[in-house]
Symmetry: D3
Subunit: 73 residues, 6 copies
């Protein structure tokens, strides 16, 4: 029965990654509930925050900055 | 006094349908509250989920798929 | 197909008003979409903000303050 | 980097199921992104909708009604 | 520790205003909590509602209408 | 014109801190917009996530755990 709203930076996920995110997250939610029948009523929406609108600790962090930080990591 | 956030697939509603949705949903909220004065403080935002980001039962469902299913229905 | 999240002050709506809000708002959304078949996939959640957590123009407005203002109105 | 807001009916998940939901859904999000480093910046919040505030196809569906329907299923 | 979701009309804030909004709102949240250490875990996302999807008192209010009203104000 | 939804762990803010959060965050939003007239249309809602429903990096983090970590910090 869960409604799952996922917020990501715009451009960070392409269509195939979104499909994978929906599949895997739905599987996870159903497994956590332990009731297979909730699958039909499990909904996922992936919202996108336009670049420049994502703030961490007071700083606007662009997608390019995130990707550079993850690459360096 | 209600804040109403509506999430729809991007491209599923044009400007006139959005205006109609705002009008009708505000009327409905005010009628349900039974207090006409709340109208001035009733806000609606229609968020759009980019195509490919809408999941039902673990599957990414595109706007084209939804429209085909509704047409067949 | 709309997902409708309604945010209201905690305690402002009893069970019967919530049921009425769900009914009327779903009817409104389906009418605005103009596609009766979307009804089955129209979901409403009524979230409650605990008293003291609702701000208008910088002031925390409690449910009692709102009800007094609406009564005076 | 995903922010994941999960909305469930109040009382439908106990503490251990919530912990399991957080664990499994974070694993799923990280796997879908394909970037292990995003785990540290993956946040999940489980919101609860008070009983009577969950609407499906225009009807207020209580937790008891949902559990009965799932049991019958 | 706060997660702050800000919803604004699309096009109402440019990149520099968004960065300023993130900076000032994070400062405000940290000051209100009174715990400097929460800064690292304070996240802001600025969502944009596409033009025509913003309703006030039942009317769809476009960005142009808002800007005209603010200018007249 | 911003709608600001703040999500915090339940019990982390008392009424006076919530009022302070609303005041300061509204001031910040208005200052960032640079248009004093938006104050009247700036709304803040402080949502609370019940204890046990807050996940960081896959772990359910309770309010007690957060407060201990902040104190140690």
């Amino acid at each position: 029965m869960p409604m799952i709203q996922i917020t990501v930076p715009a451009g960070s996920l392409d269509a195939s990654k979104k499909a994978e995110m929906i599949r895997l997250i739905t599987d996870a939610a159903v497994a956590a509930e332990g009731i297979p029948a909730v699958r039909a009523q499990t909904f996922v929406q992936i919202h996108e925050v336009p670049d420049g609108g994502w703030g961490i600790a007071g700083r606007a962090v662009t997608l390019a900055m995130m990707q550079a930080a993850l690459a360096a990591h």
